[in-house]
Symmetry: C2
Amino acid sequence: MSDPVRLLLADDEHLIRGALAALLSLEDDLLVVAEAATGPEALAMARAHAPDVAVLDLQMPGADGVRVATSLRAELPGCQVLIITGHGRPGHLKRALAAGVRGFVPKTLSARRLAEIIRTVHAGNRYVDPELAADAISAGDSPLTAREAEVLELAADGAPVAEIAERAALSPGTVRNYLSSAVTKLGAENRHTAVRLARERGWV
Amino acid sequence: MSDPVRLLLADDEHLIRGALAALLSLEDDLLVVAEAATGPEALAMARAHAPDVAVLDLQMPGADGVRVATSLRAELPGCQVLIITGHGRPGHLKRALAAGVRGFVPKTLSARRLAEIIRTVHAGNRYVDPELAADAISAGDSPLTAREAEVLELAADGAPVAEIAERAALSPGTVRNYLSSAVTKLGAENRHTAVRLARERGWV
DNA sequence: CGGCCGGCATGACAAATGTCAGCGGGCGGT
DNA sequence: ACCGCCCGCTGACATTTGTCATGCCGGCCG
């Protein structure tokens, strides 16, 4: 029999991480060699242990799973990345795939299936949860231009136009134009529902 | 030795629930007798198995942990409820306690600690995570009147004043007044940041 | 080269929003 | 009985928005 698959687990929820580690350790061809609770910690652990597969939670303090994946891709090309997420938004999947992530699955999965998918990913294949994939396809591509998305993001926390303009180094009028066109493209009634829609589709 | 503690586990994330069940089963005085993925399912399972302790995730499809806890309290007074949450907001804790929940902990906890807390709760004692408790205390009570909170909630998804007025059966002017006073009380710049603030503090 | 598109801006106007003052009614304390 | 507080409403006003037309510049593609 071949060597076991060496795993890095990163999730900020201690309970889940520990439980996951325990469950995956039951599979005798999987070996958890490192755990991390934050993005930077995950990177450090990966450097130290050079795992075969990194299982990363999408939402972690410090740096999210996709950012970690990007760094990992550059530093440890041999390490495959599997992203695991609670509430998967379409855009995240796209970003993740672009970052070279090999697998993307929701947390509503049994441990046995996860173990299988880890093996799949380790073998160099990809695996994307069918439901998340369907969502991503139906959501389609973002109709927003880079600027529109940027401005929309700055508008996300309810800041007035003046503040957005300052933070984006734009004229207030321009900001309103971008906001307006973004709202139109998204079919929203105002900037705030637009922000919500864009968030739901993972476009911000 | 006494009988084992009979547990109900409810969490919509299969992975976590399964892992948790496995870990808690390692403790020989704990026995997982039922699992559920949604609020209603949790209630049904509780009726069928009459567990000693119900471990409920706060955010579940159908009905959230607190609502389930309320029903449980009425139907199965002998069943203690322990709420477990990812990102705990202060107001939830207060609502949970009011619903007769005996324990409230974040997911950033080791399985061993969780097992201890389950025993504590089963013994009839309360346990609230110190950090969450501190947050709740520092957040204090909501300064909003019932109407202000109601209107703010209706404003949450970015609806225009006219729509809020209709849905609340109020005059548009009144809605604006409530919104304005809520914004002032919360020290926000506009209704949207007010909504965000109120959400963070668990006041909506 | 000549469109075309996106980025960036202005100006102007309509609509929505935030703010303030004030009025009346009800309800619970002192 | 009186006071204070919350509810609910109106009206008026300043400010912030959303929307539209229009213009200039720079890059990219046919």
